[in-house]
C-alpha cells in the first residue's frame, strides 16, 4: 500500500528533477551553415571535394573506402522491402486465424509459422537454384543450390527478398485448407511447394532476374511483382488442396450451404492491414533498386487499387446481401492488392483504381461461386489469390500503358498474358492435385471426423488457443457456428437449424 502511494510521487519528483536538469543542458540544434558557393563558381577540386563529402565513405586516415553508395542503397531498399514482405506472414496468420474457428487457432498459427520456417530453409537449399540458376532450356535452373552470394551483398538481399516471396506463395494454401488438414501432411506439402511448384514456375517468368532465363519471360509475359507467379500459383494450389480435402463437416448439407463464421474479425482486420503494409514491400520493392524511383509510382497504384478493391467488395456485398459485409470488404482490399501486383509499374493510376474495383467485385462473386460448387475455402484464398491474381495479370493486357488494349496497344499482350495465366493454372493446379492425392492415399491428408469436431488444436497440438470456455461456449447460433468444439456433428445427423 505504502509503495503505491510512494511510487507516483517519486515519479513526479523524478520528472521535475529531469526537467530542471535538462534546462542546464544547452541545446543548439539549429546549425548555422555558411552557404557554399554555387556549382558554377566552384573549381574542379572544390567540386570533387564536395562530391566526396557527399558520396564517399572516408576513413579517419583519409583512405576512401571502396564504397558503392548506389548499389548499397539498392541493397538497403531490397532488404527493407523483404522485411515488409516477411511481415505479411503475420498478416496471413492473423487473417486465417480470425476467419476460422477458435478451436483451430493454434493449428493455423503453427502452419503459418512452420511453412515460413521450412520454406526459408528449403528455398535457400534448393528452390533458389531451381528458380534462378542457369536455366535448362527455359524450364528450370540448374545451379546456385545452397545459395552463397559470397561478398556480393546485393545478392544476399536478393536471396532474402526471393525467400519471403516464396514463403508467401506457400502460406496462401494454408487458408483454403484450414480446419481439417493433418498437420504433418501440410508440412510435407510445404516442402513440395517451396522446392518444386513455386520455384520452377518462377524460373519461367523471373529466372532472367538472376542467372536463369525462362520460356514465359522469353515470350514477353509481364508479371512485375507476382500476381501470377506468387499469388495465382498459391491460389491454384489452394484450390487443389480444398478439392482433394473436401469441405469441412457441416458446411454443405444437400443443397444447403451453411455459414461457419470466423471467431475473431478484428484479428482478421489487423491481418489485412498488416498485409496491406507488407504489400508496400511486395510491389514497390520488386524494383529491387532505387534507380528512377519508380517504387513511388508503384506505391500509389498499389494503394489506390487496394482502396478501390475494398470499396468495390463492400458495395457489391451491400447490394447483394443487404448489408456491407466486413469479411468481404477485407477480402476486397486483398483482392485489389493481388490484382494490381502484376501491373503496378505500368498501369496508370486511374486504371489501377478500376483494376482494384473490379477485383473487389470479382472476389465476392468468386467466393459465392466456389461456395456454390461446394469447394470449401474458409478464408477465400482461392478467390483472392487465384482468381484475382489471374484477373490482375490479364489487366495488363487491357490497361497497361502502351501495351494495354484500352491504352493504345493491340491484343498481342493480352494473348501473352493469357498464356501465362493458363500455364500457371495448369502447372500449379494439376501438380498440386497430384501431390495432394498422393498424400491422401499414403499418409492421409485429413484428420479424422472426431478430431475435426474436437478441433485441431487439442488433437494435433494438445492445447487450446484460448480459455476453453471461449473456445467451447454454447453458441447462440443453432448449429454450424463459431468456435464451438462440436457444432457440426449434430447438424449432419438431423435436419438443419434453418429447417428445424
Amino acid at each position: 500500500m505504502k509503495t503505491k502511494r510512494l511510487a507516483p510521487l517519486s515519479f513526479c519528483l523524478l520528472a521535475v528533477v529531469l526537467f530542471f536538469l535538462s534546462l542546464f543542458c544547452p541545446i543548439s540544434y539549429a546549425s548555422a551553415d555558411e552557404a557554399p558557393p554555387t556549382w558554377e563558381k566552384m573549381s574542379i577540386e572544390q567540386k570533387l571535394d564536395t562530391l566526396k563529402s557527399s558520396a564517399l565513405e572516408v576513413g579517419d586516415d583519409g583512405v576512401v573506402a571502396n564504397s558503392n553508395l548506389y548499389v548499397e542503397t539498392n541493397t538497403l531498399w531490397t532488404c527493407l522491402a523483404a522485411f515488409l514482405v516477411f511481415f505479411m506472414q503475420a498478416g496471413f496468420a492473423a487473417v486465417e486465424c480470425g476467419f476460422t474457428r477458435a478451436k483451430n487457432a493454434c493449428n493455423i498459427i503453427m502452419k503459418n509459422l512452420m511453412d515460413f520456417s521450412i520454406g526459408s530453409l528449403s528455398f535457400w537449399l534448393v528452390g533458389f537454384g531451381l528458380m534462378f540458376g542457369v536455366s535448362y532450356s527455359g524450364l528450370f535452373g540448374t545451379s546456385d543450390f545452397l545459395f552463397d552470394a559470397g561478398d556480393n551483398s546485393f545478392n544476399w538481399a536478393f536471396l532474402i527478398f526471393q525467400t519471403v516471396f516464396c514463403a508467401t506463395a506457400a502460406t496462401i494454401v494454408s487458408g483454403a485448407m484450414a480446419e481439417r488438414t493433418k498437420f504433418s501432411s501440410y508440412l510435407i506439402y510445404t516442402v513440395f511447394i517451396t522446392v518444386i511448384v513455386y520455384p520452377i514456375f518462377g524460373s519461367w517468368c523471373w529466372g532472367g532476374l538472376f542467372n536463369g532465363s525462362g520460356w514465359l519471360e522469353g515470350r514477353g509475359f509481364l508479371d512485375f511483382a507476382g500476381s501470377t507467379v506468387v499469388h495465382s500459383i498459391g491460389g491454384w494450389a489452394a484450390l487443389a488442396g480444398a478439392i482433394v480435402l473436401g469441405p469441412r463437416i457441416g458446411k454443405y448439407k444437400g443443397k444447403e450451404i451453411r455459414a461457419i463464421p470466423g471467431h475473431n474479425i478484428p484479428l482478421a482486420a489487423l491481418g489485412v492491414f498488416i498485409l496491406w503494409l507488407g504489400w508496400f514491400g511486395f510491389n514497390p520493392g520488386s524494383t529491387t533498386a532505387v534507380g528512377g524511383g519508380s517504387f513511388a509510382f508503384i506505391a500509389v497504384t498499389t494503394n489506390i487499387s487496394a482502396a478501390a478493391g475494398a470499396l468495390g467488395a463492400m458495395i457489391i456485398s451491400w447490394i447483394m446481401f443487404k448489408k456491407p459485409d466486413p469479411s468481404f470488404a477485407l477480402n476486397g482490399a486483398l483482392a485489389g492488392l493481388v490484382a494490381i501486383t502484376a501491373g503496378c509499374d505500368i498501369i496508370p493510376v486511374s486504371y489501377a483504381a478500376l483494376t482494384g474495383l473490379l477485383a473487389g467485385v470479382l472476389v465476392v462473386f468468386s467466393c459465392v461461386f466456389f461456395d456454390r460448387i461446394h469447394v470449401d475455402d474458409p478464408v477465400g484464398a482461392v478467390s483472392v489469390h487465384g482468381v484475382c491474381g489471374a484477373w490482375g495479370t490479364l489487366a495488363i493486357g487491357l490497361f497497361a500503358t502502351d501495351v494495354g488494349l484500352f491504352n493504345g496497344g493491340g491484343t498481342t499482350q493480352l494473348v501473352t498474358q493469357a498464356t501465362g495465366v493458363g500455364a500457371a493454372f495448369l502447372w500449379s493446379f494439376s501438380l498440386s492435385l497430384a501431390l495432394f492425392y498422393t498424400i491422401k492415399v499414403t499418409v492421409g491428408l485429413r484428420v479424422s471426423e472426431e478430431e475435426e469436431i474436437e478441433g485441431l488444436d487439442l488433437t494435433e497440438h494438445g492445447i487450446y488457443a484460448y480459455p476453453p470456455a471461449f473456445v467451447n461456449g454454447v453458441q447462440s447460433a443453432g448449429g454450424s457456428t463459431l468456435g464451438a468444439a462440436a457444432p457440426s456433428a449434430a447438424t449432419s445427423a438431423i435436419p438443419s437449424v434453418e429447417g428445424a
Binding site: 451453411r258 446481401f321 457456428t481
Partner: protein
C-alpha cells in the same frame, strides 16, 4: 420454501433486480441462458450466407424464497421484466419449484433462516 427460476430478457435484468429489492428480496443467483420458444430467431449473414440464430440470449434468475415472499416476488418479476406495457413474445417464464431445504454455507444455518 420455494425456488423461483425465472427466464427473462437480458436487458430487464437490472430492472428486475431493483424491483426485487423493493419487495425485500435481496439475494439472487444469475446465470446466462439461451432460449428457444415462440420468439423467432435472428438472422445473421456471413460471407453472403444467411443463417438463423434460433437460440436467443436470456438470463436465468434463481431465487430461493420463504413462502410468504413467493407471490410478491412473482408479481414483481412479472411486472419488471415485461417489455413495454403489453409485453413481447420472448419475455420469458417463471417456474416455481418446491424447495426442501436451504443451507447457508458460512454459518451452517438451515431452513427458512438461511434463505
Amino acid at each position: 420454501m420455494k425456488l423461483i427460476v425465472a427466464i427473462v430478457q437480458p436487458n430487464r435484468l437490472e430492472a428486475v433486480k431493483a424491483a426485487l429489492a423493493d419487495v425485500d428480496v435481496f439475494r439472487v443467483t444469475v446465470m446466462d441462458a439461451q432460449g428457444y420458444g415462440q420468439q423467432r430467431g435472428k438472422t445473421e449473414v456471413y460471407r453472403g450466407r444467411e443463417f438463423t440464430v434460433s437460440l436467443l440470449r436470456k438470463v436465468q434468475l434463481m431465487i430461493a424464497v420463504n413462502d410468504e415472499f413467493l407471490e410478491p416476488a412473482i408479481d414483481t418479476i412479472v411486472e419488471a421484466s415485461r417489455s413495454g406495457e403489453s409485453g413481447a413474445v420472448g419475455d420469458g417464464k417463471i417456474f416455481v419449484l418446491p424447495l426442501e431445504d436451504c443451507i447457508r454455507i458460512r454459518t451452517g444455518e438451515r431452513g427458512g433462516e438461511a434463505i
